[in-house]
């Protein structure tokens, strides 16, 4: 399994990483994605599948945590199914919609396009960690005031992208907000209100330091 630092995950890096993941998985379950054949018997006659597991340590919403993960779990799967953090949504599971956006060491990433094992030694902030000590992040308040969420399914991702944007560019222009959040699709198409809200939060003052160990 490739264990390169993922602090600067580019799209190319992601593709390479996924390729490595598939190779690793193939040694265990040779038929993944292929037509059934003789080797099926090896798999089906054995015990229920037990994919390779790895022990990792990470920080999640400020708390340190160690656990054993199956190597094929995506990060969003790890968050939703194994840590009970269902605020991050799966809209496409293929890096198109942004509903699963979280902060990985202060950068926004699609958690459907990251493997869980890659977060070893890293810090993750999800929507559940955005409010601090019962106080909403200014972005959350602005999203309420400007009616950002309609159906709300994309909202967690919009917030986390906006958070990453403001941490790196505290006073963006409307055009910069659009560019910074364009990886987050809203089919209710409430884009105007999301942009308004981010600009309002930006004007309200510096975002509090809930972005973990961001630069």
């Amino acid at each position: 399994m490739s264990r390169k630092s993922s602090s600067k995950i580019s799209r190319r890096h992601f593709v390479e990483g996924t390729g490595a993941g598939l190779v690793a998985a193939a040694t265990v379950a040779p038929l993944k994605g292929q037509a059934p054949g003789a080797d099926v018997k090896n798999r089906t006659q054995g015990a229920p599948s037990s994919p390779p597991r790895t022990k990792i340590k990470f920080t999640i919403n400020g708390a340190e945590r160690g656990m054993e993960v199956e190597d094929h779990w995506t990060l969003v799967e790890l968050l939703r199914d194994h840590l009970g953090l269902t605020g991050s949504k799966i809209g496409c599971d293929r890096g198109e919609c942004g509903a699963c956006t979280v902060l990985l060491d202060g950068k926004s990433v699609y958690s459907c396009s990251q493997l869980g094992v890659w977060i070893d030694g890293k810090s993750i902030i999800t929507i559940e960690g955005l409010a601090k000590n019962g106080r909403l992040d200014p972005l959350q308040q602005a999203f309420i005031d400007h009616d950002g969420p309609q159906c709300g399914f994309c909202t967690s991702g919009q917030l986390m992208s906006a958070k990453a944007l403001l941490m790196h560019n505290p006073h963006p222009s409307a055009e910069e907000v659009r560019a910074g959040m364009t990886g987050n699709i809203c089919r209710c198409s409430n884009y105007n209100h999301y942009v308004e809200a981010v600009l309002a939060a930006s004007a309200a003052g510096p975002s509090t330091g809930s972005g973990g160990n961001a630069a």
Binding site: Q34, R43, P51, K89, I127, I144, G152, V177, S189, H193
Partner: protein, 705 residues
Amino acid sequence: MTTLNSVGHATPRIDALKRVTGGATYTADIAVPNMLYARVLRSPHPHARIRKIDLSKAQALPGVKTILTHDNCDIIWSSGDTRNKRYLFNNPVRFAGDAVAAVAAVDRYVAEEALRLIEVDYETLPFVLEPEEALKPDAPEIQPGGNLSPNNQGKAEPAIEKRGNIEEGFKAADHVFEDRYQTPHINNAQLEPRASMAHWEGDKLIVYASTQGIANCRTDIAKDMKIPVEKVQVICQYMGGGFGNKNQCHDFDLMAAELSKRADAPVRLEFTRKEDFISVHGRWPTVQYYKVGVKNDGMLTAIQMRGYSGMGPYRKGAGDISGVEVYQVPHVEKTSYMVYTNKAVSANFRAPAYPQGVFALESVMDDAAHGLKMDPLEFRLKNYTRKFRDQQPYSSSGLEDCLRKGAERFGWKQRWRPAAADTGVVKRGVGMGMGMFPSSLGRSNAILRVDSKGNYDVHVGVTDCGTAAKTTMALIAAEALEAPLDRITVIWGDTDTCPYSVGESGSRTTVFTGQAVIEAAKDLKKQIAEKGLPKGDQFWRADAAPNPQLRDLARYSFTAHFAEVEVDTETGHIRVTKFVAAHDSGRIVNPLTAESQVKGGATTGIGMALHEQLLYDKRSGLPLTAGYYNARIMTHMDAPEIEVVWVETDDPYGPYGAKTLGEPTIIPAVAAVANAFFNATGKRVKELPLTRDKVLGALSEGALA
């Protein structure tokens, strides 16, 4: 219009906190112990007979619990096709994406691997994708009885609407304009993929659905599962959008219920995003032939339309093509063919029959104005509807004000110039369109309670698919009860605790269920006036199930949209630079969330105009653009600022005069953008969307001669 205390004031959603903290629980967030996970196998062919399905390898995979196919499951999804028997699993399969099998297994990985181990022997059949082709005598037969889908009376005939005498209308005309327009299949593409979690407690079925209407969903599930309706509970607390394709119950609800029954365990079934694009319905594609007669002074004399709607292989949707009624014209003839094809099923998507119809209608009207050298705004002010179908008065109409006030905000007088006025590479143009949408009255229910401290519970069967229905109901209750908003608690989204609600389709909830809340509140206030507040742990309760009807009136919402675009004639790129949406939806209950509706609807319409489509490969019959990127769904970068103009008519019906809002917001947006492109370039693209290939093609017309 009198000012009210709660209604009419911009109010954040009462559940906004849950929505911004990740605390809102959607269907796929629900997990229970011992829950199985289900996935669906789909046809890779547009039309094929299944000779044999071999499940032996899949069933041998450890962790696989139950597999459904047409061999062992004959459940009919009755709301999936209103004309034919549509089973959960059909043979033959009739579109690429038709369900072949569903597997419940211990986890997602096992379920997905099991799909790969199912061996299906297909005999491929000839297929047809386009409705006009499908009506030819030698076309492959998709449903028994032919490809022209029958009407409500079971007759395979087109839907015909006639008024006046169309021939006389054309005789009276000084000019006739005609053209052919085409619109594609477009996906609703709501962010939340389809999911259902079902489990049984004895003989009671509990379904956590992702639905726009828990009451209808429950009735449908009971009917199709052949169990009494009181044995079904449907829960939907938060719902990630539907825009019309989560009405009623869905095949995934029924599959989850049946898998759960057979496996004797809770089952969560999820569709992938790709499945959502190829196997769940979107907007019906159309071909429309328009012919319009106009006098020299610009008055319309006749509108004739012949349209073909591609319904996919099952008749889930109505398939009509609407919009003509927005014009005052004595002679009308509409003929609509609803046709089976081997594309994905099509049905409701935000104002189902309207934006594609209005795109074509408003294009040909724009051509008429251009031909007469008239300002398109003047043309519409002359011809907009004064009476519904020239006969029935409206309960209220703000259409003229939408045109005038919208144009004023937009700066139409300063911005409009005759077509193709710019000579540079980047050409600017403006366009407009108008539309209307029914705002009927009808039955819905509400139950209100008050306790000894003066706190009110409002039980309404809404699901709040993003419309802010909960907040709307709370505002109406606060107004009717003369109580502050924080005394109101809304109980929603569960058929065991909520009465019937009409469902969030047809943009009816505010009007229907809002009226029920008012009626129940009146009753409760009367009880309090007579008996005082209850004592101790008592409460007073009021039920209402009003079924108001209109008499001799038509009730509609109206809208006019105005767009300015810049067309880069070298790249073919179109950018919307200004957009104004004027709406008469009666009294606006909550201006904050209503603005969200308008901005969202208009933006979706702009996407429909410019780049959204599910494109099919003609040779293989397979969809090519499944997914957000390839179907080119609107993004932040694509979305212009939408300015909203409210024309609040004082309508005597509906809760405090509110009319329908959610769906009208998309209707004229498509036409406004397409007409702006024409105004910029003097060329017309007659097939949506206005992608760069078509734009450059239109611009180069005649260039090579």
